[in-house]
Amino acid sequence: MKKHDNLITYAVVIAAYAVFQILAATGNLSSHMKGLLVPMTYYAVIAVALNLCVGILGELSIGHCGFMCIGAFTSAFFSKLTEESLPGPLRFFLAFVIGIAFAALFGFLIGIPVLRLKGDYLAIVTLAFGEIIKNVINAFYIGVDSKGFHFSLKNSMELGMEKEGNLIVNGAMGITGTPHDSNFTVAIVVLLISLFVVLNLVKSRDGRAIMAVRDNNIAAEATGINVTRYKMMAFVISAAIAGAAGVLFSHNITTLTASSQYFGFNASIMILVYVVLGGIGNIRGSVIAACVLYLLPELLRGLNTYRMLIYSIVLIVMMIVNWSPKVIEWRKRVTSSLRRA
């Protein structure tokens, strides 16, 4: 790995941020586009998280939206609860702490059974856990009044709250009215921190151990590497970053529901598509792929009928550019000649 590789990644993110900010300031960005910037960034964050799990650890997880879901709900719950009592920036910071901590905790708990499995089996079980998380949250009714918390799995009437009580989680209707704390700048900062954590981890002794487990766990064990410990470490960090993406998500929309559209199987697969097309194990590629592939269908809305056709062509082109050995060879030739020039 080259010395300045990481710096280039940070520079790309900051440059993209600057470009969008200038476009917005000069009035060249429609309000529709402005609304897409935060989602684009949190999808980049979760793509980085998933790449840590799939590319660096080498375990295919297709339930990562479940961790995002946990981060989203726990943080939104906290923000709703403390909306009046805490100042905005502090509340948002604590929301991050809580969202990340809970996602990490669930990453650990789910990791205990899941990381005993391998390959397809691991993928299937993570998929199941992702769906379970979503469905369980859909069944929660939680309210608070002067007597404290009320909890039910049936409906909001069962809570038996006082009249002035505050219904926070309303079953499948989710959490309504989470403070709108997310913005593009915070999202970019979260993305930069996630990149910093993952890229630095890869270049440390723990990162090497994780990749050794990926490449050959029998040899890793015989070399004295604690396979279980390092698998868990990578999985928990990955879940925690996915939780951070969830915090950005829940503080960017008015009504947070644990719907399939955002946290279901399809959403997890979509993020996996970002990771695979950006290059498995290539963190910078994940960020670029997430941004391009998230924005593209939205930008092509005008072309209505041809939208999905163009999207699929872009997927194929990205696949060729990132995976075809001939094209990779050609890319290397071009970059090395550029370097010499």
């Binding site: 002794r205 090497r208 151990a209 050959n216 040899a219 015989a222 070399t223």
Partner: protein, 252 residues
């Protein structure tokens, strides 16, 4: 006191006694060979010694310490390193990182320091880098430091596997058929590498091998396994002249 002492080691898989009443004593600094026909249980013995399988009976002592039922990781930390019959490298990692993984448990800093690149990170990483380069130089792999392990030629992959094992600073090195698949030139080079490991690190080595030229050339003592039992044990010359060994394994 012997470095490795194994007494009455037994393991069964179902009704099959794969290894039965296996005994071996290896003194410090010895180069010991384990030979026998295919299916005799040689690799099973290695797997028992490294904790991959747990024996039904018997005791394994390394340097006086009982390591019989310990895990693979604990046994490695206690001082046993190995290579594999079918090479197992970290293929998608550069050559130097393969060795650095071997150094992982010897040069430490916390995960947090690793993520922030602060504290002991720089100092320890420098030490890891220096030590890894020193090992690569010994094995004449320093020119390949950034090559992916998968792209190394066969002979060098074997060497790298030995270098990685040596990085864990073992007391005993187990080599499982190091010359398998090698041409005569590569085998010759391997013999030089093994001699180098012995002289440079004062290493005790137990190796499994079918290449009799290599075995008779470098091993000081031999144990012959047949159907999971020890057929014959002793000085190389005497063992190779034993009529039972000739019928069971060498042919002649």
């Amino acid at each position: 006191m012997a470095l490795l002492e194994v007494n009455n080691l037994c393991i069964s898989f179902g009704g099959l006694r794969a290894v039965d009443d296996f005994n071996i004593t290896i003194e410090k600094g010895e180069l010991y060979g384990l030979i026998g026909p295919n299916g005799a249980g040689k690799t099973t013995v290695f797997n028992l010694l490294t904790g991959v399988y747990k024996p039904n009976e018997g005791i394994i002592r390394l340097d006086g310490e009982d390591i019989t039922r310990k895990s693979t990781i604990e046994i490695n930390h206690a001082g046993v390193a190995r290579t594999f019959q079918n090479i197992r490298l970290f293929k998608n990692m550069p050559v130097i990182d393969n060795v650095k993984v071997g150094l992982n448990e010897r040069f430490k800093y916390s995960t947090l320091e690793g993520i922030l690149h602060l504290g002991k990170y720089r100092k320890v990483e420098k030490e890891i880098d220096d030590e890894a380069m020193r090992l690569l130089k010994v094995f004449d792999l320093d020119s390949e430091r950034d090559t992916l392990a998968a792209n190394l030629p066969y002979g060098k992959q074997r060497k790298l596997e030995i270098a990685r094992a040596m990085a864990t600073n073992p007391k005993l090195l187990l080599l499982d058929e190091p010359a398998a698949g090698m041409n005569p030139n590569e085998t010759k080079e391997l013999m030089e590498t093994i001699a180098l490991v012995r002289s440079k690190f004062d290493m005790t080595i137990l190796l499994i091998e079918h290449d009799m030229k290599l075995v008779s050339g470098i091993c000081e003592k031999l144990t012959v396994l047949n159907f999971g039992r020890v057929l014959c044990q002793g000085e190389t010359k005497e063992v190779l002249a034993n009529p039972e060994v000739i019928t069971a394994y060498l042919g002649g």
